[in-house]
Symmetry: C2
Subunit: 357 residues, 2 copies
């Protein structure tokens, strides 16, 4: 099913309004989810709407949060999201980082007591619009084992860096620090396909290609897959995300991160509040004139785009380029939704007495 | 050969003095190299001394640099290293970042016109000593191909994040963004061993296990190895390092980065000055009280150290832990040097009329 952006946007907004969000929060939360669907990151868009509703039903999401700054210097701050939607808490934090950057060159905000914040790219692009470099990361439900362990202690903990270019679109590096994101596993599960070695291990820690291994006590592997191929680096990046997002802010970290799915209870012995994010913004002109930076980034992009290729039909992909191509296509032609998601959305509509999509 | 730290330090210092460095710069440059040898990162310590001398002989390193701040806001700056040793330019930049952080909470410095800066961990640990979180990255000689390409366009571009803990040593994530660092390849070459699939490709872009492939037009692969295992993420991280270090500062980037080895000429059409670094510091107490952060980071470390293991003899390794163990051992028992390095060092001693080691 293909659906126009505007239709899906007002539908999503109405769900958030029905959950008790203010007009402003409902519009913002819908905007974050929609950008994910527009950019082709289907796993993080409206497909997750039902997940947010279930968490709200379980009183784990507060739709009327009092988001506060609990600690601050001119260029750093800790924000408490009051158990609000990460979809509104993270933009609050990024606006604060941008304000600080406007005044002092850079701004950095660590966030506690939040929930899933959608795609990291949304938040970094807020900075890019102001000719700033954007940073965003978040910790997440524990699914990934550190190198040498068979215990799920880390989330897929994404990190994102975004840079404004000139004639080219922004460079947006937005990546899970695990070898494969959970969404890819779900696709393999649905299609009954095996997954490549190096994505997951079973409960004992043995290599497996069974996409269902995660449900049976297995775990995702850090980027690199095994020690020989640098999984300690993926683990180190994931640890960095966890520490900046949660140890620094006072959120839960490691195995204490509350799971996104509502049928799993959060750990009974939390070490902090909710989940954590870390966002930042740096003014490009804090380092060199914006037009100089953009001209050189354009030159960088042009050089990599014209790199000699192994397969003549497969060019080098600039980070963020496929997402922008999807966005242009989907803004014009509509967003494809699989039946499963349409059913979920219509179920939510029924629950709230709204029209089906 | 085992050599005591103090002996190797004064030897190294004397070489730098003979190259025309000031007392202060010679001591600092030696300190950076020695910490690498002490921490067991043999590839980046005195083994590289001959490389710095050769670059100086080729007039590509200026041992009397006038390091300047060319652009600045309260929390950001661009530093020009005046073609100096990265071993002294990067600490200058990190001191500036720390000063800014002391005043405003955080400080970020992009560096152009520099050279190889040794181990990134040295610079981040300068911040950790002040109860700050340290960031350091650098671009480097092009040896790595982006995903889908067989062209060497990126360096092993390391990134490093360091965090002060309480009773445990600092967490130091210090990693090349390639699947394997060049040093590991050199070891395989010396020992006549094959390397694992996923480290390198040959000139055509085909998988190879021949450690000499790099000399025949092959390239290192980004962390992840191939697209299916996330090499686009390693490419994205490496791109991030290149942009923050060089596009932002006005250094050379991508294939224009001047090679570290003196027998290869720098590109004739530079897009900037020298190589680039990016360093930063954030005060922990810009986010939460230092003792709270350290107590939680200790708890994080303890939890990961006690993680259930796949092999009972192989515990989870906290980033930075093996390096600290090496440091404790080598400070006491001396630093092991292979014959090749001893010969190189004695050759340098002869060249400068100094005593052999």
């Amino acid at each position: 099913m293909l659906i126009y952006e505007s239709t899906l946007r007002s539908f999503t907004q109405n769900i958030f309004l029905s959950m008790g969000c203010s007009d402003e929060h409902a519009a913002l939360a819908a905007d974050v989810l929609l950008l994910s669907d527009l950019r082709g990151i289907d796993s993080h868009g409206v497909a997750r709407l039902i997940g947010y509703v279930r968490l709200w039903e379980n009183k784990r999401i507060n739709t009327k949060p009092n988001i506060t700054i609990v600690h601050e210097t001119p260029t750093t701050a800790t924000v408490d999201g009051d158990a609000g939607l990460g979809l509104v808490v993270a933009p609050f934090a990024m606006r604060l980082a941008i304000q600080k950057a406007e005044q002092y060159g850079s701004g950095w905000v660590s966030v506690r007591n939040s929930n899933h914040f959608g795609i990291a790219g949304y938040h970094t692009l807020m900075a890019v619009e102001k000719d700033m470099i954007g940073f965003a990361m978040t910790n997440a439900s524990p699914l990934v084992a550190p190198t040498f362990s068979n215990e799920r202690l880390l989330g897929t903990n994404p990190m994102c860096y975004a840079f404004p270019a000139g004639k080219y679109p922004p460079v947006v590096v937005d990546m899970a620090t695990s070898a494969a994101a959970n969404g890819k596993l779900e696709i393999a599960q649905r299609m009954g396909k095996k997954v490549p070695e190096g994505w997951i291990q079973d409960a004992k820690g043995d290599v497996t290609t069974d996409p269902h291994a995660l449900k049976n006590g297995g775990s995702l592997l850090p980027l690199g897959g095994d020690r020989e191929h640098g999984s300690h680096k993926g683990f180190g990046l994931s640890a960095t995300v966890d520490i900046l997002s949660a140890v620094l802010s006072g959120a839960n970290y490691g195995p204490w991160v509350p799971p996104f799915v509502s049928f799993l209870e959060p750990p009974a012995d939390p070490v902090g509040l909710g989940i954590g994010h870390f966002v930042g913004a740096m003014r490009v002109d804090g380092f060199r004139p914006v037009d100089e930076f953009k001209a050189h980034l354009d030159n960088w992009i042009a050089r990599f785009k014209s790199a000699s290729t192994i397969d003549p039909n497969q060019k080098v992909i600039i980070p963020g380029e496929p997402e922008l191509e999807a966005e242009i296509d989907r803004r014009k032609n509509g967003i494809p939704l699989v039946d499963e998601v349409v059913n979920d959305l219509n179920g939510l509509a029924t629950r709230f007495g709204l029209s089906h999509i």
